[in-house]
């Protein structure tokens, strides 16, 4: 596995939605090695500061040549610091296991809120793997229409997108799982808030669809060394490690 520690030049770090930023940096090796669903760990403290001490994990939103894109929301100290950086970032990656894009069959991508971040890359790779546009379905849920920073990016690629909002301000008024009314065989890849992923996984179980979930948890090392990123497995007292066994898991392998 190829992983890199590098200082990457920031090409852009701009607000694309309310408190949502898109960070673009140049990191050729990372871009080449990256697979959809993998993540990078970014140092958010300034060079002359020890605080916040831990790197922050962010999914790779997409890659384009040497360029790597991250989509992130400012929620706390680390992301606040990150939003101020304009010169270069110190990152480690790509880390973790990505989504497994099936060789054939339909692919449904179900994103909730900022969980959409890694999913554009999934679509990108599915297309690269020869999947036709009509075999890919994108379902995105959010609280309100203001939280759809990347819908257009999917549409630009000719992909079918259906949206749902809690407040009905765009698309279906309700839950994104209510859009999962497809027929036939699907592989479902999902990322978003835990309750949403639970609902998606449940729907998949009912329909007997393969379901891959991307989990989040606090991380220290990001590479399987600290054992800090444990989540409960299906067996009692069995733990999985998000950074190494995931962040993408088969829905049946973890407690959501």
């Amino acid at each position: 596995m190829n992983q890199f520690l590098t200082k990457a030049k920031i090409l852009e770090n701009v607000e694309v939605g309310p408190n949502v930023f898109r960070l673009t940096f140049e990191a050729e090796e990372v871009a080449e090695a990256a697979k959809a669903g993998q993540f990078v760990m970014i140092k958010t403290a300034t060079e002359a500061s020890d605080d916040p001490i831990l790197r922050r994990p962010f999914s790779i939103h997409r890659v384009d040549g040497k360029r790597v894109f991250i989509l992130y929301k400012v929620v706390g100290r680390g992301t606040k610091n990150l939003a101020k950086q304009q010169m270069e970032i110190d990152l480690v990656g790509p880390l973790g296991n990505g989504f497994t894009i099936p060789e054939e069959g339909n692919v449904a991508i179900v994103g909730g809120g900022l969980g959409i971040a890694p999913l554009l890359f999934v679509a990108q790779q599915a297309i690269r793997k020869g999947r036709k546009e009509e075999e890919i379905l994108i379902l995105i849920g959010a609280r309100t229409s203001a939280e759809f920073p990347v819908v257009d990016d999917f549409r630009k690629r000719g992909l079918k997108v259906r949206t749902a909002t809690d407040d009905g301000s765009a698309g279906h008024h309700g839950l994104v799982t209510e859009l999962m009314d497809m027929e036939g065989d699907w592989t479902v890849m999902t990322c978003g808030p835990a309750p949403m992923m639970r609902a998606v996984a449940k729907r998949c179980e009912e329909k007997n669809w393969d379901c891959q979930v991307s989990l989040e948890t606090t991380m220290a090392c990001g590479m399987g060394a600290c054992l800090g990123c444990a989540v409960r497995g299906k067996v009692k007292h069995e733990y999985k490690h998000v950074c190494k066994d995931g962040p993408v898991f088969k829905a049946g392998d973890v407690c959501l």
Partner: protein
Amino acid sequence: MKPKLEVEIGNLHLQNPVMTASGTFGYGREYENFVDLQTLGAIIVKGISLEPRPGNPPPRIVETSCGMLNAIGLENVGLKRFIKEKMVALRRYHTSVIVNILGNTIEDYCHLCEQLSDVNGVSAIEVNISCPNVKKGGVAFGTDAKIVYQITGAIRKKTDLPLIIKLSPNVTDITLMARAAEEGGADAISLINTLLGLAIDVKTKKPKLANVVGGLSGPAIKPVALRMVWQTANAVNVPVIGIGGISSTRDAIEFLLAGASAIQVGTANFINPAVTGEIVTGIHDYLRDNDIKSVSELVGSVILPED
């Protein structure tokens, strides 16, 4: 002239004084993309128990100011899988491997020691009597000088490997524990393990760790660690290995000056996965730039004020 980086910890010979702290470097290979493992003084692996342990429920870590609390709960693959899988992989590198061990009873420690003594490639044993996370095996052993003496003596009989006793900082007088370990037959003392800490989420009113309390590590604790290393180095005749917040060459040198014969890098591996290799080079350059022939000249050479 090339400065000499080799150090001797009892009869353990290390090519340089830079090791990885147990629990922060996995079983070594996790970091092979970032550090040439063969340039390290030693790899100290995640603490091993007789049986595998699942560890604590999540959340297991929480960030604090310039530090972190962990309550991993000593998750590990257990002695058998360690020997069969991890040790086999580690033997391919020409680097000293030190096995950190933990147990619930003195017998556990003795068994671990006995069995590890026969394993090809194990250079030394580090005994964790200080982990605050597991009720039985933790605090109790490491905070009572009598028990430190007893456990060291018992293990000493089971192995000819260099024996390092790793001390808990959660004590009134660290030198009493160090002397007890020395008298019990330890070849070296390593310190510090984590300081016991707590963090509470004011939104949920719940502790941020499922285990409630956890071990504090990182730059935040460095001044405390350095003080304890200095006190200990002045109190015992066996070598002292310094641990606690070491994140740079400068930090490492501070510990050597305070009296540590070697150092371990812990939490800093998470922030900069290449840091151990950088510190090896950094110590080399510091010695060269300051015309110091050997690391051993540096050890304990802090200049105290006269009064």
